[in-house]
Subunit: 86 residues, 2 copies
């Protein structure tokens, strides 16, 4: 038995259905799915010849890129906090 | 003409080749591609029946989820900085 109850939700991303199981709220999972859907649409509009696989992989690539940029921001903010706290 | 020179690099992600064009350095693009490759491998090991599409979409879903968590951390750090600065 786990402490957290599992959420099971089916979302639609880029015309396909996916069942997501996790400990997050349904609204959070829907928000995430909508963001992925939106990013896949952006990429497919810019590259209409790409197949679904490539669109999905490039979506993951773009997201990791943005994640790394945000991680740099976190490091800078932590550094700034450290200096202020002495 | 653009100020920044475009980088064009072919990377291998989960057994397929992708040409990535962008303004980032080749080493950054390689790092991103390696992270996507690693995440796709983790998901496919846990779910050996999934096809490439689903693995890639779920990789994007997981990454966006982690991105949103990191974004919350950024907000908290900014809030803390604001308080310290008065």
């Amino acid at each position: 038995m786990q402490d957290k109850e599992k959420t099971r939700i089916t979302v639609e991303i880029h015309g396909h259905h996916y069942t997501i199981v996790g400990t997050e709220s349904k609204s959070h999972i829907r928000e995430v799915a909508n963001m992925v859907d939106e990013k896949m649409r952006e990429i497919s509009v810019k590259n209409p010849m790409l197949d679904l696989n490539k669109i999905a992989v490039l979506t993951a690539v773009n997201t990791i890129h943005e994640y790394l940029k945000l991680q740099e921001e976190v490091e800078q903010l932590k550094e700034e906090l450290k200096k202020l706290k002495g």
